[in-house]
Assembly symmetry: C2
Homo-oligomer: 211 residues x 2
DNA sequence: CCATTAGTGAACGGATACGTTCAACTGAAC
DNA sequence: GTTCAGTTGAACGTATCCGTTCACTAATGG
């Protein structure tokens, strides 16, 4: 049976509508929160009848879940570490640090994290899903990267996951927290944080310094 | 003029009621969010008339602001660093790291941060107030501590605030983020994070190792 | 053309919430 | 005891929202 040929008898569902609803819902939920967002408004923004929203997603929670899943999916492919495999150790670490901070600093990302954290209280599985799709996945990738460098003799790292956490945490520093609470980003300070992280990291783990 | 003698003509306002309202409001706001919390429910929980709430705080936003301010105030005195001025460098850093992580791990604190972050979008000044009352204040204190150790010749630190951020960030590592998204705390890993932070920090900044 | 499914618009029920108003009551100061 | 401000309970107006129902239209396969 050719699986892509699902005999639809009647009028087929319009994926564009589904997408429009999710887009509008995402905007609304991340701006107003779960309680604050209104399905009526979401339907209007998506140019769709309220009944269509319900027939697609069941209820408000279903819509929220779908919205989060969609964001996680978008997030998944958005950051890759493979592009940073060339140059000196210092250069590679700087590139990774900068890419990571840039990735996390985008306003959409900040909003997303704020909202998921807030709604974690209502629906813990949402928080767990986000952790798995985002941070935990990223940590494993970066830890593997560090482990590879360690086996190549560039670094001497006993606990790659811990080292990964340390590097990323130092790169973020307080900037992460500040952004979350509305403080404007300071590019200069961010740069200093990344440089400082590379310095300290190399001091602790590089087999022979890094410039 | 004796300032503590403000001639009140009629019936004086009952501070106990005010406190009860703020306590109930804090619980509600941090559990349900601004939009989700109901003034009617808050009044009932506080054992007070709804009108009394309005006469004290004007409207919902006013109540929310008062609630945040009260929490920040409570937070202010809650963490002091002076208790950690004895023992070896390693011992002192370990003690500080552990106290800080314990302070930030409390469920109330996690909830508070989640909520303030979420409401920062609606009212940016709330986020700014929290940053000033909490993290920024704490950073300055700890940076001064590091600076003192630096001038005492124990550490060699060019940028105390950056070093403070690095140490705290490493101590928190990913635990902070995980807690925010509902992942249960792992005391063993937390301990490893703090030990790792002390190791790396000393490697980078201690004049003569630590331990 | 006809059955079937997707989508629309409008209205409804039930609930909840914010913020206000009003008459009555309470308690401290003078 | 009088005065005056705090407090109460209850009700009200207005608004919003969730989720459902219903009659009706649009698109697709047979």
């Amino acid at each position: 049976m050719s699986s892509d040929e699902t005999k639809a008898k009647g009028r087929p569902t319009d994926p564009a509508k589904r997408d429009a609803i999710i887009a509008a819902a995402t905007r609304a939920f991340f701006k107003e929160g779960f309680a604050g967002a209104s399905i009526e408004q979401i339907a209007a923004d998506a140019g769709v009848s309220k009944v269509t929203v319900y027939s697609h997603f069941g209820d408000k929670s279903g819509l929220f879940t779908a919205s989060v899943e969609s964001q996680c999916e978008q997030m998944r492919g958005h950051f890759s570490i493979d592009a940073f495999a060339s140059g000196s150790l210092r250069e590679r670490l700087m590139a990774i640090g900068e890419a990571m901070v840039a990735f996390l600093s985008r306003e959409e990302m900040v909003q997303f994290e704020r909202r998921i954290a807030a709604e974690t209280e209502r629906e813990p599985e949402v928080g767990a899903a986000f952790l798995a799709a985002g941070p935990h996945r990223m940590k494993r990738v970066f830890a593997a990267f560090i482990d590879a460098m360690s086996q190549a003799g560039e670094l001497k790292v006993a606990d790659p996951e811990l080292a990964a956490e340390q590097f990323v945490s130092m790169c973020k520093g307080m900037g992460d927290l500040e952004r979350r609470f509305g403080h404007p980003s300071d590019p200069v300070r961010n740069r200093e944080r990344i440089e400082g992280a590379v310095d300290v990291f190399c001091n602790a783990y590089a087999v022979k310094g890094c410039s």
